[in-house]
C-alpha cells in the first residue's frame, strides 16, 4: 500500500501546529500516489482526544500511543515507536516536522531503518515513482532538489512551508504501545521550561519585528516590543551582534547561526543587513527596513525602506499601526 505516515508532534499533551502541517504535507503526497495518511500520535493518557483534529486535516487513520512518560518528548521511545510502525506498516514515505523535536527524531528513525532522510524541505514532488524534495542549503543561498532512492523515504518539512489545509474525514483510531519503554530510556527530558510570557514563537509568528545595533542600547528594544504589541500577532527577533552583546537572548537571534524565519512581514529596525542575518530572513514575504544609512545592504532586499533615526521613526510607526488596526 502506498500509504504515507505523518508524525503528529505534541507538547505537554497538546497537538502542535506543525503536526497539522505534517499531516497536510502527507495528505498531498498520499493523494499524488493514491494512498492513505496515517498519523502517529504519541502523548500522555488522554492524547487520543486530539485524534479527531488530525482527521480534519486529512488523516485516514490515527495511531494513538499513550503512556504516562510521554507527557514530555522521549527521543528513544519515539524513535523505536516510529521506526517500528514505519517498518511494519510498509509506508512509501514518512513526514516529520523540521521543528526542534522533528529534527532530533527524524535522523534517529532514518538511521534505525537505514532509509534516506531529506531534512528541512519546503516542497515535495514526484518524478515518476521517485520522491524529490526542495531543500534550502548554504544558509538559503541555494535551493537543492534532493532525489531519494528507496522506500520508505523520510522527509522533515520546514515549519510554515506547508499551511495546514482542512481536508476532513473521520479518522479510524488504532492504539499501540511504545516500542521501547520510555521509563527505561537513557536520555530523559526532565523538565520543559516555557519561554517568557505568552509571546509568539519566531517560527510561527506572521509578523516579526527585529532589532539590531542601530537601536544603540538594550533598553531601546522597548520600542521594538511596543511595535510588536501594536501588531498584536508579532514576535521580536534580533541580530547576532545584539545577542552576542547580551541585549537579547540567543534564542531570539535570526540568521545563519540562529533561527531561519519566513513570516508574512519582517520589519528590520536598525539592522544593516550582514549576510549572516539575511540568511535567516530573506524568505520573508514582505520586508521593511528602517535604518539611518541609506547605503545599508538591508535596503537592497527590503520591499519598503525608510531612511532615518529609528528612535524617532519606530514610535511613529507604532502609533500609525495601532490606528490602522483600530480601523479594520
Amino acid at each position: 500500500m502506498p500509504n504515507v505516515l505523518a508524525y503528529a508532534e505534541t507538547r505537554s499533551g497538546e497537538l502542535r501546529k506543525v503536526a497539522l502541517e505534517a499531516v497536510t504535507a502527507a495528505r498531498r503526497l498520499a493523494d499524488a500516489i493514491g494512498g492513505e495518511v496515517h498519523a502517529l500520535l504519541l502523548g500522555p493518557p488522554g492524547i487520543a482526544s486530539r485524534a479527531a483534529q488530525l482527521g480534519e486535516y486529512g488523516a485516514d487513520v490515527v495511531i494513538v500511543v499513550e503512556h504516562d512518560h510521554l507527557g514530555m518528548y522521549s527521543p528513544e521511545a519515539a524513535t523505536a515507536t516510529a521506526a517500528t510502525r514505519i517498518r511494519d506498516g510498509g509506508y512509501r514515505a514518512a513526514i516529520f516536522s523540521a521543528s526542534a523535536q522533528g529534527r532530533d527524531l527524524g535522523p534517529r528513525v532514518a538511521a534505525r531503518l537505514r532509509v534516506p532522510l531529506a531534512a528541512d524541505v519546503v516542497a515535495i514532488e514526484l518524478d515518476g515513482d521517485r520522491i524529490l524534495a526542495k531543500h534550502p542549503m548554504n544558509i538559503g543561498k541555494v535551493t537543492a532538489t534532493l532525489s531519494l532512492t528507496g522506500s520508505p523515504a523520510l522527509l522533515s518539512v520546514r515549519p510554515n512551508a506547508f499551511t495546514p489545509a482542512p481536508n476532513a474525514r473521520t479518522a479510524r483510531l488504532e492504539t499501540a504501545q511504545p516500542a521501547a519503554d520510555p521509563a527505561a530510556a537513557r536520555v530523559v527530558v526532565k523538565e520543559l521550561r516555557q519561554g517568557s510570557g505568552a509571546k509568539l514563537d519566531l517560527g510561527e509568528a506572521p509578523v516579526i519585528i527585529s532589532g539590531g545595533r542601530g537601536l544603540k542600547a538594550a533598553e531601546n528594544f522597548r520600542l521594538v516590543e511596543e511595535l510588536a504589541a501594536a501588531f498584536g500577532n508579532a514576535a521580536v527577533g534580533c541580530t547576532r551582534a545584539v545577542s552576542d552583546d547580551g541585549w537579547r537572548p540567543h534564542s531570539d537571534q535570526i540568521g545563519q547561526t540562529g533561527r531561519m524565519v519566513s513570516p508574512d512581514l519582517y520589519i528590520a529596525v536598525g539592522i544593516s543587513g550582514a549576510i549572516q542575518h539575511l540568511a535567516g530572513m530573506r524568505g520573508s514575504r514582505t520586508i521593511v527596513a528602517i535604518n539611518k544609512d541609506k547605503d545599508a545592504p538591508i535596503f537592497k532586499i527590503a520591499d519598503y525602506g525608510i531612511v532615518g533615526d529609528v528612535l524617532e521613526i519606530v514610535p511613529a510607526l507604532t502609533q500609525a499601526v495601532t490606528a490602522s488596526r483600530a480601523k479594520h
Partner: protein, 250 residues
C-alpha cells in the same frame, strides 16, 4: 576525559554563489572555505571540558578532501590535541553516508563524548550527529545550549520553539551543539605555531551507501527590493498605506 569533535570544511558564506556546470553543485572557483560555525562551538565545548577536568584529550575528526587538513589544523590551533582526516575526494550530501564513515572511525576508540555542531551550514541536514549515535548505539542529545558534566552523567538544555527542555543522559554520549553554549575562542599566535607540530593521521574514509543525492541546484529568485519610501517620520504614513493596500499585511 577523551572527547572527539567532528568538524566539517564548508564554503565561506560571504561570497556570491554561482551554480556549477553540473547544475547540481555550487561553483567553488575562487571561493574560500572555513570550519562550519557550529563546529567551532563544539570545539570550544570540548576544550572547556578538558580544561575543567584538568586532563584528557580532544581529537578533531574531519571527513573530506586533502584540504580538510586545513580545517583540522585550525582546530589544532584552537587547542585540540590531534586530528584524524578521513579522506574522500568529495563529501557526499547523504548524511547517512557521512555518518557511517565517522561511526566506523569513532567506534575504534573509547570516547567519553562525541561532539558535533548542531548542523553544517552548507548542507544543513542537521542529521549526522544523531545518525552516528544510532550507529554506535550511544545516548544522544541534539542542539544543546547549556551543558554540565559530572561523574559520568550530563545535563543539557535544548531550545525548542518558545520553550526549552532540560535533558539528562549518561556518558559516553553524542551531543550536537547549538549557538549560545559558548563563544568560540580564536586561535592564538602560540596556538597557530604549536598546531604545526601536532599530528594529523590520514585514513581512507569508509563511506556508507548513498541513498540521497542533489539532483539539481538553483539560486533562489532575486528579491526586487530597494524601494525607499522616504526619509524620517514623514515617511511613516506612506509606509503604512503600502502595507495596507499593496502588501496587504495590515
Amino acid at each position: 576525559m577523551k572527547i572527539a569533535v567532528c568538524i566539517k570544511r564548508v564554503l565561506d558564506m560571504e561570497a556570491r554563489f554561482r551554480i556549477g556546470a553540473d547544475r547540481a553543485s555550487v561553483d567553488e572557483t575562487g571561493l574560500k572555505f572555513d570550519i562550519s560555525d557550529f563546529d567551532t562551538y563544539a570545539i570550544e565545548a570540548a576544550l572547556q571540558l578538558k580544561e575543567k577536568a584538568g586532563q584528557g584529550e580532544v581529537v578533531a575528526i574531519s571527513l573530506g578532501p586533502d584540504a580538510a587538513q586545513e580545517t583540522i589544523r585550525k582546530a589544532l590551533s584552537m587547542g585540540v590535541d590531534r586530528g584524524i582526516h578521513l579522506k574522500v575526494d568529495r563529501i557526499p550530501f547523504d548524511p547517512f553516508a557521512i555518518a557511517s564513515a565517522l561511526a566506523t572511525e569513532l567506534g575504534t576508540d573509547n570516547y567519553d563524548l562525541i561532539l558535533f555542531g548542531k548542523l553544517s551550514i552548507d548542507s544543513a541536514s542537521q542529521a549526522v550527529g544523531p545518525i552516528v549515535a544510532e550507529l554506535l548505539d550511544l545516548p544522544c542529545v541534539t542542539a544543546i545550549s547549556k551543558l554540565e558534566i559530572s561523574d559520568k552523567r550530563g545535563t543539557a538544555q535544548r531550545e525548542l520553539e518558545g520553550a526549552s527542555e532540560i535533558v539528562e543522559f549518561p556518558l559516553p554520549a553524542v551531543l550536537t551543539v547549538d549557538e549560545g553554549l559558548n563563544k568560540a575562542r580564536l586561535p592564538s599566535l602560540k596556538g597557530i605555531m604549536g598546531a604545526k607540530k601536532k599530528p594529523i593521521e590520514t585514513k581512507p574514509a569508509v563511506v556508507g551507501d548513498v541513498r540521497i543525492t542533489v539532483s539539481t541546484m538553483d539560486l533562489p529568485p532575486e528579491r526586487s527590493g530597494g524601494r525607499i519610501v522616504g526619509e524620517g517620520v514623514a515617511a511613516v504614513p506612506e509606509l503604512v498605506r503600502l502595507l495596507e493596500t499593496e502588501a496587504k499585511v495590515l
